[in-house]
């Protein structure tokens, strides 16, 4: 049975570094693709108001 250390050692450290960069770029691209456009402008504007509306208007 193959040991975990052999499995890990099958890749060189450079591969890990490259994979990690690809992973990061995918996450970055994903977030950017979803939030980069103007489609969600109204939603974002509403979210941004939350701290300003948090303890006003409803006191008794």
């Amino acid at each position: 049975m193959i040991r975990l250390s052999e499995l890990v050692s099958a890749l060189t450290p450079a591969h890990y570094a490259e994979l990690s960069l690809v992973l990061f770029l995918m996450v970055f691209a994903g977030v950017l693709a979803r939030h980069g456009g103007k489609r969600r402008a109204a939603e974002h504007a509403a979210c941004a108001q939350l701290p300003l509306a948090d303890d006003e208007g409803g006191r008794r």
Binding site: Y16, S20, F24, F28, V31, E43, H44, A48, L52
Partner: protein, 729 residues
Amino acid sequence: MSKETVRYDDAIVRKFVTATILWGAVGMLVGLWCALQLAVPRLNFAPYFTFGRLRPLHTNAVIFAFAGNAIFAAVYYSSQRLLKARPLDRLSAIHFWGWQAIIVAAAITLPLGFTQGKEYAELEWPIDLAIAVVWVTFAVNFFAMVRNRREKHLYVALWFYIASIVTVAILHIFNNLVIPAGLFKSYSVYAGVEDAFMQWWYGHNAVAFVLTTPFLGLMYYFLPKAAERPVYSYRLSILHFWSLVFIYIWAGPHHLHYTALPQWASTLGMIFSVMLWMPSWGGMINGLLTLRGAWNRVAEDPVLKFFVVGLTFYGMATFEGPMLSIKSVNALSHYTDWNIAHVHGGALGWVGFMTFGMIYWLAPRLFQTKLYSKKLATTHFWIATIGIVLYVLAMWVAGITQGLMWRAFDDAGHLQYPDFLETVTRLVPMYWVRALGGSLYLAGVLLGGYNLFKTWRSRPASYEEIDVAVPPMIRAAKLPARPVNVIERAAEPPVHWHRTWEGLPALFTALTIVAVLVASAFEIVPTFLIGDNVPRIKTVKPYTPLELYGRDIYLREGCYNCHSQMVRPFIDETVRYGRNGKPAEYSKPGEFVYDHPFQWGSKRTGPDLAREAGRRDELWHLRHFENPRSTSMGSVMPSYPHLLEDDIPWDVIQPRVDAMAMLAVPYDAEALVHADGLARQQADQVARTLVAAGGPKGMETKEVIALIAYMQRLGRDIQLAQDTQGGTK
């Protein structure tokens, strides 16, 4: 309209704000004392109040007591309002008093010399356990608010809090895995390269998830409140969050450039550190642009002044950090005061100013009265700003001066400053400027404390408790039935994926944990499992029982705060730490396989000690420990006369050897049953050597003997390897 109400718990916020100011003053006073000790060594009072024992107290107090309490104040105030939910009172009380008890325990045990010997993780295992319990209490209390919330959307500040809560727990647990060897003594389960990696994975991310992300949460809540306008770009804040969470965790190895850490890990750390610059500046710009249209108020409002300068320091520190992580820059800056300048730019400028801005904004609301003096708050701002500038400039000059002096060669190819001490005494004027800057900053804190005290004095006889009308709890509210009609369905507002996540805090938290764990695993797994990361060296053996105890003294006295044990592969270092005209071997990973914990250090106020064995005789060491000025004129090292008076507690040696054996350190059968006897034998030998050299008699039972034995071991094994290869033996 809903008839439900919630009454926010501002008492817990008042408590944490008060603790922030009190512990901030204490932590900074200790810091100022440490700064003065480097200029005036007489200010070291052995054994309890030496630089090596006080510096961890300063760093722990400022990070976990000052910044920690500020974070809790921010979290409790803003989360209640953003979630429209009250925390559980009993858990809040346990959290507050538990955390203060931990701080008191740290303030007592660190001067007593109880330490794990790892920077920012010095506290011994019983206190570490208490931290874990209190942190979990905090987490449960926070997530109880999330569960009982009445606002579906989790505002961006809350994401930063969630990331901080889960990541700090992961970091704390994994870096503090130890084998106890007594009530206040333990050894890290990791050794050498692996311990160094874990420590800086922890250390850098303590900066990230204690000193950065919670304060970004604070910024995203309190800055819009103070500016009375929403954050400039909510979209940018989303990008800021995910980029930071994903990138930060990789950056730790930049603290170990050119050390025995494998190069691939160091390079990976550098790349991700440089990448960090972008999201950090995105956050800073987002903060500053939030003030669009309100800049005229900055001139009048001390709260906005603190926030603007705090954000500016965030920008400066997050530019300087990536720059220092570039290997060629790091080669100059590492081990020098440049790092001290960098960390204080972040701590005093970013963390401190955001905290004070928040406190001045909160004070009238928490104490339900006017701030006692806006003028005093403005004075606080200006003297603190001047204080930081003096501090940081002095340390930049000191750091670059020392780095350049270490590497300077004369025309004949010799080190221009071969005496390390010369590179230290040259910095003393800068240490005075630093002390002046620190004094100004501390004066500002005291002024702020006075202002708050006077504000508190004018509070009403009893605080008005307000019931805020709120919508029903999200978990109790039933979702409207989905329209059956296709046309009605098409008209439904789209449920965006990110908003859906935010509505599902458990999933959101899980994704954050995954981002942190994946990033950690990509560095940690290869570090631990690729065998050739740490090639073994045959001549490297475990420390003898006496050397092990001597090493424990080295840890106890906090020698790692000023001395490194890492000769980097630079010609100026191998020449400086060589002997008899021969350059030293640079440090190899295999040398440290029995070092639980590693002691590579992060600052050289004194010279590197990795090749100390045999450089000086035993009597020199004894005199040096008794009074460093007697052997090294102008030295700023504390005196340790107690080492010549205190007896070695022989009975602790066996349990410590046993604990090391549990960590697979290959002690032989005799050491496993007669460690104290072996230690006594070696102590007798060292004491005889001392007497033969004209030293004092009767030292064989004194602690200094163990420390000398350890000093004379440092680098000896690699020397043996060299001699064996060279055929000299």
